[in-house]
């Protein structure tokens, strides 16, 4: 047997006793033994199978229960998303906005009709309409309400409720006005409850209640493109004017609280400014987009 064969067999741990003796006779036997012994200090660190398996077990538990209900969870998640989107969109409030000098007509889920005046906002909920006819209003609107359940117009200043009628609600900053044109309108404010018959109105300006003169018209003037006022503080007339024309009006503080009776058109700025300023003996001058009102 050659030297190489012996070494091969030694490497394979398969020397028999005779070959072992022959192997020990090799001249590099001592060298090989030295190398072999030295190699043992390069042994890999202890790897405890049992301990490591116990350490691994917690990370296995999760998976085994997941394997069957994971696809089910995916389906359930998709269904849940679909349902919530459906639910969300069907119960979502409908919102309508108008810009300055814009008007829009809104048909409510029953045959009721709302005409929304400039710079106003109306919100109602379609899905709960059958139970509650509620609309939220910020601004001015004219309502033609179909007969049926109680119809509520909710504003910060008060709730206007009716059964079937035509009326106008105006709710601006520090200004709240309700006017009845047909039927019977109930107005509930923080302090009291008032019922309005056709032609009658109610006005709350800066927290003070004003009685309205009886007025025989079938619909508010703004539907015809003009606004009229009776004994109204001038500043509210100015802010109204700003709702119809895209301008900024500067007015003296002393003039702002004067009472104004009159009206202005929504279609012609020059004409509107004249009809606002002449009764109060004021003159106006333009500078850019703002208009300054002064005493003559």
């Amino acid at each position: 047997m050659t030297r190489e064969e012996l070494i091969q067999k030694w490497l394979d741990h398969s020397l028999n006793s005779e070959e072992q003796k022959a192997f020990e006779q090799l001249e590099d036997y001592k060298d090989l033994m030295q190398l072999n012994n030295a190699l043992h200090s390069f042994k890999s660190p202890e790897f405890s199978v049992d301990k490591n398996y116990q350490a691994l077990r917690p990370s296995l538990k999760k998976k085994s229960t997941q394997s069957w209900h994971k696809p089910l969870l995916k389906v359930a998640a998709v269904l849940a998303i679909c349902f919530s989107v459906y639910y969300y969109t069907t119960t979502l409030d409908s919102t309508f906005n108008t810009e300055i000098a814009q008007q829009t007509t809104i048909d409510l889920p029953d045959t009721s009709e709302v005409i929304l005046n400039a710079n106003s906002n109306l919100v109602f909920n379609k899905s709960s309409w059958d139970d509650q006819r509620n609309v939220k209003l910020n601004g001015e609107a004219f309502f033609k309400v179909a007969k049926g359940e109680k119809f509520n117009v909710v504003t910060d200043k008060g709730i206007v409720s009716v059964l079937g009628t035509q009326f106008n609600v105006k709710h601006r900053e520090n200004y709240f006005e309700v006017k009845c044109y047909e039927g019977l309108v109930g107005v509930k404010t923080k302090d009291n409850y008032t019922e309005l018959t056709p032609g009658n109105g109610l006005k709350i300006i800066d927290g003070k209640l004003f009685a309205n003169e009886k007025e025989i018209t079938t619909q508010p003037n703004w539907l015809r493109g003009e606004s009229t006022y009776v004994n109204t503080p001038f500043k509210h007339v100015i802010t109204e004017l700003e709702n119809y024309y895209d301008i900024k009006i500067v007015v003296d503080k002393a003039d702002a609280d004067r009472l104004y009776t009159g009206g202005f058109t929504h279609k012609n700025l020059e004409l509107a400014l004249k009809s606002v300023t002449i009764p109060l003996n004021l003159s106006y001058s333009k500078s850019g987009t703002s208009i300054v009102l002064k005493r003559e």
């Binding site: 070494i7 091969q8 490497l11 394979d12 741990h13 398969s14 590099d28 060298d31 030295q34 190398l35 072999n36 030295a38 190699l39 043992h40 200090s41 390069f42 042994k43 890999s44 660190p45 790897f47 199978v49 049992d50 490591n52 398996y53 350490a55 691994l56 990370s59 296995l60 998976k63 085994s64 394997s67």
Partner: protein
């Protein structure tokens, strides 16, 4: 395998058997191939977790090669990530001290030479050689473990021995 009927290993008892059978060999393989910089025992655990996650797709007789391939890839990723050149190194264990200082010094020198020489072997040579010499495995066992022929194992180990001895003498 004792259960040739099974087509997956999603059963904890079976998985545990596979763990007990392969984890130590896998650990040694990683250690001898890459050294201990990259924490071979962590990679063993990671490979087994991956095996468990894929238990439905792996048959029992494919488990071993899945584990070795996965663990090897994990190691290679870690190597690429760290961008370090691996050297095989290990501090020699302290032995009894009732030897002459000269002998201790010689021994130390020899160890250093051996360490360098081991580092110079190819990964394939080193893994096969150390499994054979240190873990006492026969050629055939190593061949099964590495999915190569017995002849190839023989060649690697014999080549490694030759190269080691040349290198030690040359140093």
């Amino acid at each position: 395998m004792s259960q040739p009927i099974k087509d997956n290993i999603c059963e904890e008892q079976l998985f545990e058997r596979i763990y007990k059978k392969h984890s130590k060999n896998l650990h040694d393989f990683l250690y001898y191939k890459f050294g201990d910089h990259l924490n071979p025992s962590d990679k063993v655990q990671e490979a087994f977790i991956k095996l468990w996650q894929n238990c439905g797709k792996v048959t029992p007789d494919k488990a071993k090669s899945f584990l070795f391939t996965t663990a090897n890839n994990l190691m290679l990723n870690a190597v690429a990530h760290r961008k370090v050149v691996l050297k095989f190194e290990k501090i020699p264990q302290k032995k009894s001290t009732n030897e002459t200082p000269e002998f201790v010094l010689q021994e130390k020198e020899y160890h250093e030479k051996l360490q360098k020489a081991l580092g110079k072997l190819t990964e394939a040579q080193r893994v096969a050689f150390l499994m054979n010499r240190v873990e006492g495995k026969k050629f055939k066992e190593i061949a099964v473990l590495l999915d190569i022929s017995t002849k190839a194992v023989e060649k690697r180990i014999y080549g490694a021995l030759k190269k080691l001895r040349e290198d030690i003498d040359g140093l």
